[in-house]
Symmetry: D2
Amino acid sequence: MIVVMHPQATPEQIKNVEERLTELGFKTHPIYGQEKTVIGAIGDKKSLSSEALVTFPGVEKVVPILKPYKLVSKELKQTKTTVRVGTVEIGSDEIVVMAGPCAVESVEQLISSAHRVKEAGAKILRGGAFKPRTSPYAFQGLEEEGLKMLSQAKEETGLPIVTEVVDPRDVGLVAQYADIIQIGARNMQNFRLLQEAGMAGKPILLKRGLSSTIEEWLMAAEYIMDTGNEQVILCERGIRTFETATRNTLDLSAVPVVQENSHLPVLVDPSHGTGSWKYVASMAKAALAAGADGLLIEVHPEPSRALCDGPQSLNPDKFKDLMEKLKPIAQAVGKRI
Amino acid sequence: MIVVMHPQATPEQIKNVEERLTELGFKTHPIYGQEKTVIGAIGDKKSLSSEALVTFPGVEKVVPILKPYKLVSKELKQTKTTVRVGTVEIGSDEIVVMAGPCAVESVEQLISSAHRVKEAGAKILRGGAFKPRTSPYAFQGLEEEGLKMLSQAKEETGLPIVTEVVDPRDVGLVAQYADIIQIGARNMQNFRLLQEAGMAGKPILLKRGLSSTIEEWLMAAEYIMDTGNEQVILCERGIRTFETATRNTLDLSAVPVVQENSHLPVLVDPSHGTGSWKYVASMAKAALAAGADGLLIEVHPEPSRALCDGPQSLNPDKFKDLMEKLKPIAQAVGKRI
Amino acid sequence: MIVVMHPQATPEQIKNVEERLTELGFKTHPIYGQEKTVIGAIGDKKSLSSEALVTFPGVEKVVPILKPYKLVSKELKQTKTTVRVGTVEIGSDEIVVMAGPCAVESVEQLISSAHRVKEAGAKILRGGAFKPRTSPYAFQGLEEEGLKMLSQAKEETGLPIVTEVVDPRDVGLVAQYADIIQIGARNMQNFRLLQEAGMAGKPILLKRGLSSTIEEWLMAAEYIMDTGNEQVILCERGIRTFETATRNTLDLSAVPVVQENSHLPVLVDPSHGTGSWKYVASMAKAALAAGADGLLIEVHPEPSRALCDGPQSLNPDKFKDLMEKLKPIAQAVGKRI
Amino acid sequence: MIVVMHPQATPEQIKNVEERLTELGFKTHPIYGQEKTVIGAIGDKKSLSSEALVTFPGVEKVVPILKPYKLVSKELKQTKTTVRVGTVEIGSDEIVVMAGPCAVESVEQLISSAHRVKEAGAKILRGGAFKPRTSPYAFQGLEEEGLKMLSQAKEETGLPIVTEVVDPRDVGLVAQYADIIQIGARNMQNFRLLQEAGMAGKPILLKRGLSSTIEEWLMAAEYIMDTGNEQVILCERGIRTFETATRNTLDLSAVPVVQENSHLPVLVDPSHGTGSWKYVASMAKAALAAGADGLLIEVHPEPSRALCDGPQSLNPDKFKDLMEKLKPIAQAVGKRI
């Protein structure tokens, strides 16, 4: 930690800060510049209130030096983590595409989707049984009935299931059916849900929050890993910006930033990232070229009748076409799909 | 709802859209312009998938006309809602200031804070027993022990209590102690928590999410009101923008925007809104001048030793000074404090 | 400057960085922590490429310690700057309101506006002769003819004139007519225009850019002061965020932040800040309560027929009413209007 | 245009709006819904003040239906525009990479860069002679001397030149040397510069503003095309968001959005888009996969000594390596490089 003092800070104020740092267990190294004094503070003590030093008289700012995360960090573990689900290995040279409808609506809709996405090359089936919706009047999901349909689809197709949980009380139930538990963007900082889901012992797909920095996202992953669960898959799905031509702004640079700082695999969701099926193919290709380990794509047998996120869903034919086009891109970055 | 067709839309595409709208229960009113055709669609049917019309061939965009919220809307209820807590009435001509530490840390810290904020004129005591923290290694709150301390502080000072709940499973427990249940910014779209808290029958303080539009915030309030709970207090606490000189950007224009669209009272939290005690007084004054019904302010007996949010906490002397300065502002807008 | 080294940085990499710092004229102070080494670098040399140190092998990041601005800084000049225009002093205990139409449209429109805003208590007349418009098909201003009308309005009412310049080639012309030269938000980083306007020797009203940090805004003011012109007035006018209920998000916390870091006076423009006349009064009051030195308000004799920014313009009656309501607010913060 | 009336709007208010619309040259089509009346307004009249209708009593909002741009629009011209510079055709099946240093610093630096980027496959040489810098104390460019060096580099290598202009007064000078005139992000809404540059008759590279919507960007291109210049090349270079891990957030979805709405070619600048050389390769690959027509990449012989943007510059070896890796990506999307 570096404490930067005001140009007008008095020697006594500097002394007070040094004393407080010592009291907190740090060793101090003051550097007296021409305009300002800065105090380097060394120590491995996790100080709960070191940020509050900024309220000391004469302090201009406090600059942290160490990263706030440990377990997710590449500094701790240099080799890449892979998450195995059945025969699928996420984070390997094989691009993993998870596809299916936004919400489970009926057995027919789901099974039909499952067969079509499997034929096209998807490795995991997605589908929401619990839906976090902006409006209380919107379709909220089929809940346990939806989970059962997912289970049935898995039986018929052999595709493992990824599905979202929105309430800590449902984690046990969802974990019975899901192969991967999804934490949605709106719940990225629902810390109780992170902890409960982490303890379920299943792989977790952690979506980035709409307005979360990459650091906050990694801190959310840290919450999960702190429960002892190392099977965390990150998923970039667009952040909120001023641009309105797309539903969100898909931040593909998050892929190399995550890969520089963490050992966890990272997927991209171009459906939520753009909000329009027209842009999904371009951004799916871009995501693979940027180095993503996989994709999450919404596919609906009849998007114009979808109860949720129809505008951003591909129909099965368009999805199949996209999967074909992804192959040479995967190859171009030394992977396969 | 207005459906705007592409300039190259064919008569058949227009017909298909009209048929689908009719099927969904709307009456259609096409308007044929020189460049484009638009179709007005009238109907009170809550169509679950009308947004998906944008996927029809030939459709350029779908423009909703009706507001998505009802219960919170000023169109439904023109008179302002006031929320009564003991002898305090939030939403009246009396400015209500809620003050206290970010987190409950100990009996001494809390009781000392409570006495000092009461003397200065605060009407409600705030303090967190459950803390949503970005880092799993940060102080997470004293939980039930903290709630008991809040209860003790209430007994000693007579101040009603506002405190946060972060997990649907804790709502019952928190409701036993709290006079007002707070839903924090990170949980604004934790819909299960909104519903569970709504059903507890206590007034709810609903903070705006870091990246939530005002419309989404009102939709979150709609979730609570949809449980039958009409005692909702909104609280603006800053949104996330590119500016880094302040922790968040306090969006004071949210106050008149809310007041134009909703009957619910609205408070402002200048502590979280700025992230620095230096700016709290200016923004507290500005909030009252903008028309806010009250304030939420962090006060700590010794901010430099606070376990949470020290940098943005006022010490009791500064808080007292601020309360004095707020009086003429309140008067200037026809209120009292 | 602090150079933070990677945890895996080698002694040689650290040595290389120290050598480069020495070569650039800095004295180095390495601090060896348990995880990382940081190197403090002291020196008043303005190093043109010190940021490029981040490309050295083993460097994690470079943290600047000194503020990038000097002339605008409160560290350099602790007393507040006041800018005198005729008998008006901006930055004093007297709130200065600048009002008038967005664009000069005709002599009648302008003179009528001028009389009405003067009667209501405005001290400066605003009006645009050169208009930067998003569309090439929108009204671009009356140019020199408009400047002449402003001059005529000044003669009739005695009100000094503030008007915008958008092209370095027009600075001489505008300076002949204007008492204060305005640099608009879109031109805040049009550095050639800043320099040319600075050299005209007239007071400059510098609006904050739509997506400019406060630091960048102060750097733009530094460009003007660097020409030798000390008469700079800052004006917050809203920043671009994800919120769409208002045209921009008025960042009132910029007022205390500027006042903490700079000696320059700061105004607020609630018309552009909100984009809707309905919210102007609330935010004008809030701006004064936050400590602003004055206001910039759009007033049009008939907003519904304005050629520019009608939706955010007050009519003269509403403006008069607002001016009355501002009086007690000004008084409440120890000022007059 | 659609005018949405308030639920409480009176029949007279509706009549007033219809009369005003008729006066402005529109035909009106009212639709009476159960809650609200909306008025469709048809007409090709460019009404200068139609947005001001929102100030009429009883009006809730005004929804424009037609796009604000014409000349840049795909509705006007369905075939893609290609811009020819020497033997290079931008917007064709051949990916065009423009590379070189941020700023021209010396003949040696520039010529060395030029040779190296040419060898690696770049088709155009970039380099700034006029630099818009946040700080007045930063290196501002070599101006005409820099242009002459660019000219010399062109002679030696045969590479056409793209270089920035920042002042309308320099357009003539820059046009003498440049094959493509660049308008930088900070000047995207410097409308006078757009017009002056447009009239120079050279191809224009128009970078997207830091906080500009795609629509505003296209409107800026419309300004250029309105001067009669059809040779406009768009360039996405990152927008400003809350994320600080990258200098800007590269909005790659702008590529398909532009391609859906406009016939103009679009490049991507991953150097400014990320601000760090570490992320340039990933985002360059992603840009091509997303469908970009080319790239703008900063290459410096010795980034750690660059006077400008060193942190985001590739050295020639890394650039060469990247160009190799781009080949299979280009092929994968049916192009060549």
